[in-house]
């Protein structure tokens, strides 16, 4: 699973950066389960469609519909440069055998830099 193309990018009012991506395949429940290793995943089924939200404070949030291939990824304010690759890496490591340990290391390294940058 990978990003096929980027549809739009927008700087949001809270300073976060939104990017809309088309993925190479639809989001699956399996991918949602993988994301649970790295943040809070909520699925709300409305009108028969499962709306997925993934929240990882200070990093990124993701919105999408399970079964569809378009997602909106929002990169937290002030640290876009540090988290720019996170969603792509999540897709890559999910596709590479749902690898968790390496992804956790990357996440920890990002977190150290985020804390320094945000002074938290």
């Amino acid at each position: 699973m990978r990003v096929e193309r980027s549809l739009q990018r927008k700087l949001c009012v809270d300073g976060s950066l939104m990017k809309e991506f088309v993925l190479s395949e639809p989001i699956s429940e399996d991918f949602a389960d993988y994301l649970r290793n790295f943040g809070e995943v909520k699925i709300m089924t409305l009108h028969g469609k499962p709306f997925l939200s993934f929240e990882k404070p200070h990093f990124i949030s993701v919105k999408g519909i399970v079964g569809e291939d378009t997602v909106e990824v929002r990169y937290a304010a002030g640290v876009h440069d540090l988290t720019a690759d996170l969603f792509h890496l999540l897709l890559f490591h999910y596709s590479s055998g749902k690898e968790i340990g390496k992804m956790k290391e990357i996440e920890a390294a990002m977190w150290r830099m985020i804390r320094v940058k945000l002074g938290i």
Partner: protein, 385 residues
């Protein structure tokens, strides 16, 4: 769901109306089927003078004239920039200006830019609990050096229409130049510029006047009070080295947006056929019905309980506005607007800058669509609760 025009429920009309009436689309196509009638250039039999005809329509619709005092621009933002910068260039010295918390960035950003450059000092009047700007607040803000007030006629977040007649009377009595942003009201409610004491009324074509994006304009009472901030070709008097003084050439340099003007022409005629008062009544009836249904959902918090315009701003408890917008679009095919709607100061007051979900209707929405929207939002609200 996405991408199928038959199934889209479009409620982002305060940004841009959609769909456009068929006669608007036909008129744009017709305008492109012949060489454009360009004043001062060679013409052919059968060509239509869209700028001239449309100026006449505008003068009739807004009950103001002469028609040449209606100027074509790109949109309301363009009109406001031309009027604000042109007026301040004309007076040529720093002054005090007044605006309000209800404003769109089309007003706030030009004024803030001028403030940063030291060309004006700026007072921003708060709105009251009903979302209105009171005359007393305006009176309180006026200083000896106040020369300009710029304010919206209708809030694009709260949907409240302001009493610009009373405010205008007071400003006129005090010699203060009054620029009104009519982006949300032009075409949506009857606007009688013949009786409202204002100096400039800025409007856009792509909202309730049903034109296409890229066409707007303004009415100016006394052109001599605003300097032209653009200079260029007008098709006439080409040997003269400066911008012409005659109207409308004083403010219209360069080639017109002919397809845009044609769309505005057809949009106004569409409204004339239905009657703007009827359009207002029909749209507000749908808005009130939808509002009432949303109010009955316990976890939907309405920001504007009594709009005068077909605008409903709200939040759903437990879910961010952008998530609501995403769900409405992707699951239900409902197009709305989320965020600050380019009016940041309003949101600071009503919800600390969190933003809102905004539904905005046009007369081409239907009661059935309102049902769909209220049903969808009921599901979202219950799902998030």
């Amino acid at each position: 769901m996405a991408g199928d025009p038959q199934r889209i429920v479009y409620m982002n009309n305060a940004a841009t109306t959609w769909p456009k009436p068929p006669q608007v689309i036909d008129e744009v196509a017709r305008s492109l089927s012949m060489p454009f009638f360009e004043e001062g250039r060679s013409t052919l039999a059968g060509q239509r003078n869209y700028p001239g005809e449309t100026r006449d329509l505008l003068a009739n619709t807004f009950n103001a004239g002469p028609a040449e005092h209606f100027i074509f621009t790109q949109n309301a933002t363009d009109s406001l920039n031309m009027a604000i910068h042109g007026f301040l260039h004309h007076i040529g010295e720093p002054c005090h200006a007044i605006t309000t918390e209800l404003e769109h960035n089309a007003v706030l950003r030009p004024l803030r830019t001028l403030e940063r450059e030291g060309r004006i000092s700026l007072s921003i009047i708060p709105f009251d609990e009903r979302g209105s700007i009171g005359l007393d607040a305006v009176k309180d803000a006026i200083r000896d050096d106040t020369r300009l007030m710029v304010m919206t006629h209708g809030s694009n977040v709260l949907g409240t229409v302001q009493d610009i007649s009373r405010i205008g009377e007071h400003l006129k009595a005090n010699g203060i130049f009054f620029i009104v942003d009519g982006a949300q009201t032009a075409g949506q409610i009857p606007v009688d510029l013949g009786s409202i004491p204002l100096d400039v009324f800025a409007f856009t074509g792509h909202k309730a006047l049903f034109g296409i994006p890229g066409i707007g304009g303004f009415f100016i009472r006394d052109p001599s009070q605003v300097d032209p901030v653009r200079q260029g070709g007008t098709g006439a008097n080409s040997g003269y080295p400066y911008q012409e003084e005659e109207m409308p050439s004083r403010f219209e340099a360069g080639t017109h947006n002919y397809p845009g003007i044609a769309s505005l022409n057809a949009g106004i005629r569409f409204l004339e056929g239905r009657g703007i008062r009827n359009v207002e009544n029909e749209t507000m009836q749908m808005t009130r019905t939808l509002l009432s249904k949303l109010q009955s959902e316990g976890s939907i918090v309405i920001d504007n309980e009594h709009p005068d315009l077909p605008i409903i701003s709200f939040n759903v408890v437990g879910i961010e506005p952008d998530q609501v917008g995403f769900i409405l679009a992707r699951i239900y095919g409902i197009i709305c607007r989320t965020g600050l709607h380019c009016a940041p100061l309003v949101h600071q007051r009503i919800n600390g800058g969190r933003g809102s979900v905004r539904l905005s209707l046009s007369c081409l929405n239907t009661p059935e669509e309102c049902e769909q929207v209220s049903d969808a939002l009921g599901e979202v609200a219950r799902g998030a609760g």
